[in-house]
């Protein structure tokens, strides 16, 4: 069953049921990123146990230059 979630501001269709699967599925693989679900931080070790539901908003961020 595919559901729609917002990843980094864009709607995508996914069959992943948890955050770890979503990352794998979306091609982040072993990328060094940090994640938030619906505005709340999800530590890396909790991604596999964090369920994804339709309409969820996911942020996947990494390091950049900053001032």
């Amino acid at each position: 069953m595919s559901q729609t979630v917002i990843v980094n501001g864009r709607p995508i269709a996914t069959t992943s049921i948890n955050l770890a699967a979503l990352l794998e599925d979306q091609g982040y693989g072993a990328a060094r990123v940090a994640t938030a679900l619906n505005g709340v931080f999800v530590p890396a070790q909790q991604r596999a146990t964090t369920a994804i539901n339709a309409g969820d908003t996911v942020e996947i961020v990494s390091a950049r230059q900053g001032g």
């Binding site: 980094n8 501001g9 979306q26 091609g27 982040y28 990328a31 060094r32 990123v33 940090a34 994640t35 938030a36 505005g39 709340v40 931080f41 530590p43 890396a44 942020e59 996947i60 961020v61 990494s62 390091a63 950049r64 230059q65 900053g66 001032g67």
Partner: protein, 274 residues
């Protein structure tokens, strides 16, 4: 005069939440013409702490990974920021992501109240600082010159406070110098850093002369004609300002005073002024 101002005890090292740092110039990493130039600038200034940010990563383009590789090569300490956050909640989550990603509990806390002035929203700032300090972060809050806000930040647990010099990116220097001096007087034991708004080494020098512990800046170096040379210039100016503060500056005077002694001046009897 030859009087030293001992209000604020100075130490050879800058202590940032228990970590000793030698360079009192903290540097941003954004807006450089190239990573190579950024790298040269960091080296030229002898900077030991740089700020970084978090941004959305697109799968497969490895921008984050490349930047991590670059950072590893620099060998300096990272201070992640929450730039662009407009609420305490956004800033808190961003700080938590930063802690995991950069493996540091240091966070430069920005909660922006207005997109035009990029000024701190002091309410969101204090709220986020409160939560983050209790969560074990070492918070470096970007704030205004407001004394009451600084008190609340200190009470929240911040031992570093970073008031602005002028709005971010304007390069106007210490627009509210009196208020910054007042902050210094009220918080002799807090590490005070001027963050944002500095446009020239003389501005950084002035911040140190009034007893600030360090300065943090980005645009004035990144946008210089020759960023590495400008970084070196800021490094020197910060050292000069600190040294001057330690050496005891003369107070400004209203009346002129001859530097060359008057006694023994020839011709005092001749040639009365027409």
């Amino acid at each position: 005069m030859n009087v030293r101002d001992d209000r604020v005890e100075t130490t050879p090292h800058l202590m940032l939440y228990g970590s000793a740092v030698t360079s009192r110039l903290l540097m941003g990493t954004a807006g450089y013409p190239s990573p190579a130039i950024l790298s040269t600038a960091v080296a030229a200034a002898g900077v030991e702490v740089i700020t970084v940010s978090l941004r959305r990563e697109t799968a497969g383009d490895h921008r984050g990974a490349r930047f991590f590789d670059f950072l590893n090569g620099l060998g300096v300490r990272l201070l992640p920021n929450t730039a662009g956050c407009r609420t305490a909640r956004e800033a808190i989550t961003t700080a938590q992501m930063a802690r995991e990603l950069f493996a540091t509990d240091w966070i430069k806390l920005e909660v922006i109240g207005n997109d035009d002035t990029l000024q701190p929203d002091v309410f969101g700032l204090v709220e986020a600082a409160d939560v983050l300090c209790r969560d074990g972060f070492k918070v470096f809050p970007y704030t205004t010159e407001d004394l009451s806000v600084a008190e609340r930040l200190q009470r929240a647990g911040c031992s570093v406070i970073m008031p602005w010099g002028a709005p971010i990116g304007t390069g106007r220097g210490l627009m509210h110098r009196r208020a910054l001096e007042s902050l210094r007087g009220y918080f002799p034991d807090v590490v005070l850093v001027v963050d944002a708004g500095l446009g020239a080494p003389s501005h950084a020098c002035e911040a140190m002369e009034i007893g600030f512990d360090a300065v943090l800046l980005n645009t004035a170096i990144a946008q210089a004609g020759d960023p590495a040379a400008m970084a070196a210039a800021f490094g020197e100016a910060v050292r000069a300002g600190r040294r001057a503060f330690d050496a005891g500056l003369m107070p400004p005077r209203d009346m002129a005073v001859p530097s060359t002694p008057v006694a023994g001046t020839p011709f005092f009897e001749l040639d009365p002024k027409p």
